[in-house]
Symmetry: C2
Subunit: 127 residues, 2 copies
């Protein structure tokens, strides 16, 4: 992939946040929606765009869709996520908060096991 494509992608803060979340592990669409507080249609379209770009892939698990970064993770993307995590800016803080929220979400799901199908739970690392 050319650099400009990636830059255009992460120039959208929401897409950057999604990629940041996914770098920590796979997630399903509705959980990302919940984490980013974004309407379903928008989330779906942004994921489709990133899939098209070759950044993410999806796997169906029943009616649920699990998204993850395509391995090996794009080097330029990783370099940027790394940089932003260590930097100081409002967007960077948001990325940190997102990761914290992600952990809380996973913990919550692990506790109340009627939250999502076990098969999904396994894939996203909370079983």
């Amino acid at each position: 992939m050319e650099a400009s494509g990636l830059y255009k992608c992460i120039a959208d803060p929401q897409r950057l946040r999604i990629l940041n979340l996914l770098e920590a592990g796979a997630l399903c669409v509705c959980h990302m929606q919940e984490l980013l507080k974004v309407p379903q249609v928008k989330m779906s379209k942004q994921l489709a765009a990133m899939k098209q770009l070759g950044l993410v892939e999806s796997k169906r698990e029943g009616t649920w869709m699990i998204y993850s970064l395509i391995a090996p993770i794009n080097g330029l993307l990783r370099a940027n996520l790394q940089y932003l995590r260590q930097a100081e800016c409002s967007e960077c803080n948001q990325l940190h908060r997102d990761l914290v929220n992600r952990n809380q979400l996973i913990a919550r799901i692990a506790g109340a096991n009627d939250d999502c199908p076990v098969s999904v739970c396994e894939k996203i690392g909370c079983s």
Copy 2:
């Protein structure tokens, strides 16, 4: 500056090339035009956009305008230029070639000293 602004900026290959050139030192508009083979109006507008963003600044030298990166150089920008220089992709190769061409241009100006005003020449490091 927020990250998304920078990403939107460097998502345009031409702007990325300009920033790459400027990291090696100041340049005047017409030389950048020559290096990137881009029409004057487009170059001027892209420089204006980057100035607005707070990435570059300009200094008048007679009728000439000398552009340079604002110091200290934006960390995220530097990290990306650094990454791209060490990576392998068509855009990265272009950045290398641009730097080579920049050196040739400077050398040529230094030789034929009727190419541009001495005062300009001094600023862009070819005197």
